[in-house]
């Protein structure tokens, strides 16, 4: 059973918009934040530069890398760093292809300016199946992201000047059709379980993380855990994961569109609402 929730906060500076998505699976919460800033300084080098998606498992205020201690006391201090780095590495692998997010749409002027999307994931509560919850939150956040439209004009010295449109609602949206969803399959005995709780995870020795797009294309397969997986069972698990992953996208998009259509009437829930 999953709840998805995306909320927009008000624009606090003209060039920065902050979106949060929250997902609940069983009792796992991830809060997902996204900031868009344009990369000016980095781009004024001679190297050609492409827009990119950077992954930070962070707290929303400071860009440090650790999971919130709300999830478990083990995450206090630097405890959650290992998990945080593992999460960002896996997410990087999942999205490291041309089609997941249309990077060309983030371009402002070819070879010079582009948008860099920073994706912050904040774990509030851990009850198993982290990757699935995080991937759904990411898809919801990307769906909700509004990137302001920019106009490039030549200024006096011959350089280019970037102007944001004054209307805060004049923005472009990202196409999230191809953003994959992650499915975690845990091997318990001779069978595998999808969407395992913490107790079920404790019984499994190995799990397979598969990221699947809405068409059924697999973008990343990763094995975690100390146990071993039989090659035949890997094939079975991949097939099952593809089926489940494909089935996740349609209800999610429907729900996101439904929430979008609620507009101002949407019920604000929780401290992030």
């Amino acid at each position: 059973m999953r709840d998805t929730h995306a909320t927009t906060t008000s624009v606090f500076t003209l060039w920065q918009r902050y979106k949060l998505a929250r997902l609940k699976k069983c009792t796992s919460y991830t809060v997902y934040g996204m900031t868009c800033g344009w990369m000016e300084e980095a781009v004024r080098t001679t190297d050609t530069w492409r827009s990119r998606l950077t992954w930070f498992p962070t707290q929303t205020a400071q860009p440090k890398s650790h999971c919130s201690a709300n999830a478990t006391p083990e995450f206090e201090g630097r405890g959650g760093e290992e998990l945080g780095t593992e999460l960002s590495n896996t997410l990087y692998k999942v999205f490291n292809n041309k089609r997941s997010v249309d990077l060309k749409s983030l371009c402002i002027s070819a070879g010079e300016h582009c948008w860099a999307l920073y994706v912050d994931v904040l774990l509030l509560q851990c009850d198993g199946n982290l990757y699935d919850a995080i991937s759904i939150a990411i898809k919801a956040a990307l769906f909700n992201t509004k990137i302001p439209k920019v106009f490039i004009s030549a200024d006096d010295e011959g350089g280019k000047e970037i102007e944001l449109s004054d209307d805060p609602y004049d923005c472009m949206r990202l196409d999230v059709e191809n953003v994959p969803c992650i499915v975690t399959l845990c091997k318990v005995g001779h069978r595998h379980v999808v969407d395992a709780t913490l107790q079920e995870k404790a019984c499994s020795v190995a799990s397979l993380i598969i990221s699947v797009t809405h068409k059924g294309t697999v973008t990343c397969v990763r094995k975690v855990g100390g146990g071993s997986l039989d090659p035949e069972s890997i094939f079975e698990m991949t097939e099952a994961g593809k089926r489940v992953g494909k089935a996740l996208h349609a209800p999610l998009m429907k729900l996101l569109h439904q929430e979008e259509s609620l507009g101002k009437k949407r019920e604000k829930v929780g401290f992030l609402g």
């Binding site: 059973m1 999953r2 089926r243 489940v244 209800p251 729900l255």
Partner: protein, 295 residues
């Protein structure tokens, strides 16, 4: 197979059973609340004297027995009393005893001399028995036991000196709050739906398939590893979800309430029982039927 997704909604506050409307409303206090300024009362558990005023130190309901006032907390660690049935997990194997985790403040103690030896022999425990302790109970094993006595520091002394106690085999453990389990004459029930249940006073509830025949000689250490049939497993899963539903709505757990909840959950699929609206519906029907029974 379709995934069910929904937007978040504000959680409805759980209302305590409307049975309270008929009797006097119990007094609920929070830590720091003054119970009474009258000095004629003796103070019991959960209270302290703050400048001649009797103040509550835990959040719960006030119980008054003649001159004694105590506060019974709603959510607490298990405070064991002699004769309670508990379900616990072995955490350590020490010399001549096992440490058992029972959701109380300290780990409970199970002495080697308090267990039944396989074969039902009654003899003095030798050094050999001490060395083979791990063959009987290992770390991670689940046992059902009874509280023999309580140490001065609050730790419980357990014993399994009856054939109904001992190591638990295949089944499902549900961990709930100790205040939800009703004290009854017996905590071992064979439910007519095809499963058996042990309602531990410490909040640990054990669901297992009804054993076909009793192994009398085994003395409580024989665990059947035969595969459990699918129908039994479905019954146990449904019972587990019913227990979670009842616990979420703070309904007192005993064999009758669990049974009624099981009956009312029949029209729904097992996995649907965990949905909030289905949970509410089932628990409401259960509470209604329980009230009819009382009244």
């Amino acid at each position: 197979m379709a995934a069910d997704m929904r937007l978040p909604v504000i959680r409805k506050p759980v209302s305590l059973t409307s049975a309270f409307d008929r009797k006097d409303r119990k007094d609920l206090v929070v830590p720091g609340d003054v119970i009474t300024s009258d000095t004629g009362f003796m103070r019991g558990h959960g209270t302290y004297m703050d400048e001649e005023k009797l103040t509550a130190s835990v959040a719960g309901e006030v119980e008054r027995v003649d001159k004694l006032i105590c506060v019974k907390p709603l959510k607490t660690r298990f405070n064991g009393e002699v004769g309670d049935v508990v379900v616990g997990r072995i955490t350590e194997v020490q010399q001549k005893r096992w440490k058992v985790e029972t959701n109380s403040r300290l780990d409970s103690v199970l002495l080697l001399s308090s267990v039944n030896l396989p074969g039902g022999e009654l003899r003095r425990r030798s050094a050999e028995d001490e060395l083979t302790m791990r063959e009987y109970l290992q770390e991670g094993d689940l046992i059902s036991a009874e509280v023999q006595s309580v140490f001065a520091d609050g730790a419980l002394l357990l014993h399994t000196r009856s054939l109904k106690y001992g190591k638990l085999g295949q089944g499902v453990l549900v961990q709930l709050s100790p205040s939800l389990v009703k004290r009854q004459k017996t905590h071992f029930h064979n439910l007519p739906c095809g499963a058996s249940i042990i309602l531990g006073n410490n909040g640990f509830v054990w669901l297992y398939p009804t054993p076909g025949h009793q192994e009398e000689e085994a003395g409580g250490f024989y665990t059947s590893l035969e595969p459990v049939s699918l129908s039994d497993r479905e019954v146990i899963s449904r019972l587990r979800n019913c227990l979670l539903a009842l616990a979420a709505h703070k309904v007192l757990l005993y064999d009758t309430s669990v049974l009624y909840c099981y009956e009312f959950s029949q029209p729904h699929q097992v996995k649907d029982i965990l949905k909030p609206e289905v949970m509410e519906e089932i628990v409401m029907l259960t509470q209604q039927k329980l009230m009819e029974q009382e009244g």
